[in-house]
């Protein structure tokens, strides 16, 4: 059940000028409510500057940013920030406060009653996978990097903000922990329905997490599209290079066997017993690898026990060539 409703976030002609430098150049895009928008680009592309203009840690030089149609520049700064979740790479937990106190930061600023704060803190720690009875009374120094980042996410979500800003939140943890944190983050975001603006320089992370991906370069928005479209139709060489020469393969990781127009004319009995068995939820990338590794070169698709059809290499090739 979604306990919060996300808000729309819209950049309208937003620029940030520093002496002798245009950090963000007339940025315009809209993030639908409850979606994850990933800002991605090389360092110096203006993605972090753009993020920090939403909660006004950086003030735009011109243009406006709207949250649910309300101009953030018309709101009082601290009130605005208390209504927006904020997660940074170094986490920035308060070392002198316990995990429970850290999570309770914004609810306390907002003057919630103690009982409500305690209940919410416990709920959030459980949500991010930290057993409240074990972690609530600990200090940040007693936690691992991954655990600290979970607390950072819990703290940002505490007051049920409609929007959450995340600045390379998983950049400082090792790849295995990062992968787990990403999966948990996706689950939590679906659960809470929060609109998320997420900054990373890692295109794979952007494709995995983003409902929309905004590719930035030199302060400009180069392309703004769902990840599948970004991989299928990069608007220029820069984006094509940035998403990588393996973008076809990356796209297969976003598509599932269930989305393919399978060959149903072949009887199951005629298929080699070596053919791998695939589910409709298997990604095409995994299906391809297993098919190539088997002698059969085809995959048997079963939905539960029911035979659905055959996946062939040419069908996968067709998906790579297809437009959508």
């Amino acid at each position: 059940m979604a306990s919060t409703r996300g808000a729309t976030v819209e950049f309208r002609d937003v620029s940030k000028r520093y002496p002798g430098q245009l950090a963000v150049d007339r940025l315009s895009f809209k993030v639908p409510a409850g979606k994850i928008c990933v800002l991605v680009g090389p360092s110096g592309s203006g993605k972090t500057t753009s993020l920090k203009m939403v909660n006004r840690l950086i003030e735009p030089s011109s243009g406006s940013i709207f949250i649910d149609g309300q101009d953030v520049l018309h709101k009082e700064q601290t009130a605005l920030r208390r209504g927006i979740g904020y997660v940074i790479q170094q986490v920035g937990l308060f070392p002198h406060q316990t995990i429970a106190e850290n999570v309770a930061t914004v609810p306390r600023l907002l003057g919630w009653a103690n009982a409500r704060i305690d209940a919410r803190t416990e709920e959030l720690l459980a949500l991010v996978g930290l057993e409240p009875s074990r972690f609530a009374a600990r200090y940040p120094a007693q936690l691992s990097g991954g655990e600290r980042q979970r607390v950072g996410v819990a703290r940002a979500l505490a007051a049920e903000p409609p929007v959450m800003l995340m600045d390379e939140p998983f950049g400082a943890v090792d790849p295995i922990v990062r992968d787990r944190l990403q999966n948990e983050f996706l689950r939590i975001q679906r659960d809470q329905g929060t609109t998320v603006l997420f900054v990373t320089h890692d295109i794979d992370e952007a494709i995995k997490l983003g409902d929309r991906v905004a590719v930035m370069r030199g302060g400009k928005l180069v392309q703004y599209a769902p990840p599948g479209e970004l991989l299928a139709h990069p608007v220029n060489d820069f984006v094509a290079q940035f998403v990588g020469s393996d973008r076809g393969l990356k796209r297969l990781a976003l598509l599932t066997v269930g989305g393919v127009d399978l060959d149903t004319s072949v009887a199951r009995a005629s298929l080699s017993s070596n053919a791998p068995v695939l589910a409709p939820t298997t990604t095409l990338r995994d299906a391809l690898i297993r098919m190539l590794a088997s002698e059969a070169q085809v995959g048997v698709v079963l939905d539960g026990q029911r035979y659905v059809g055959v996946l062939t290499l040419s069908k996968i090739g067709k998906m790579i060539r297809s437009d959508t």
Binding site: Q90, L109, Q142
Partner: protein, 217 residues
Amino acid sequence: MTPGEPLIQWDWIASHLDEFAFRLGEHVELTVIAVGVGFVIAFALSLLILRMPRAEGPITWITGTLYTIPSLALFALLIPYTGLTILTAEIGLVGYTLLIFINNIVRGIRGVPADVREAAVGMGYTPREVLWRVELPLAAAVIIAGTRVATVSTIGLVTVTALIGQGGFGFLILIGLQRFFTTELIAGAVLSVALAVVADALLVLLQRRLTPWAQLA
């Protein structure tokens, strides 16, 4: 000290416990006022430095110069203005604490990790809340370390103020010197040192109480 006289006459000590208690009170009073007033002034000057880094040079220069003036000379120079009073003593004693306090308060607050400060501001703390709820608690260990140095050095300096009619245990040292009476002189010195050691230990305990999280990791 006349030949044959013992270094310490224990019966004299036993008969002067009341005086020791009285001098202890004096010594503690002079120290607490100096450290307390010094802290408040230094705190205000530190906030000024943190807000206006340009002020750091002049403030450091003035407090640094103050720190180098020999204490005896400083007290002597003040007598024409403030006489043989506790004010004379405290002006000097407070002056010597400033450099230590300012150095530690500024260093402590500047030492707060940038990510912690950014998270606090990003979550909607006002500048005042950032100072009181984040920066000062995190700087507490460094500030208390400065307080230990300031307190111990003040306890030592208080003995010098005996020369201008104050002095706490310093009074015992002064009289002991004038009378060549080693018992009183040693009693004054030992009690001063003991007071410094006890005060230091109490501040260490205070720091552990205030910063339980700093003992971890």
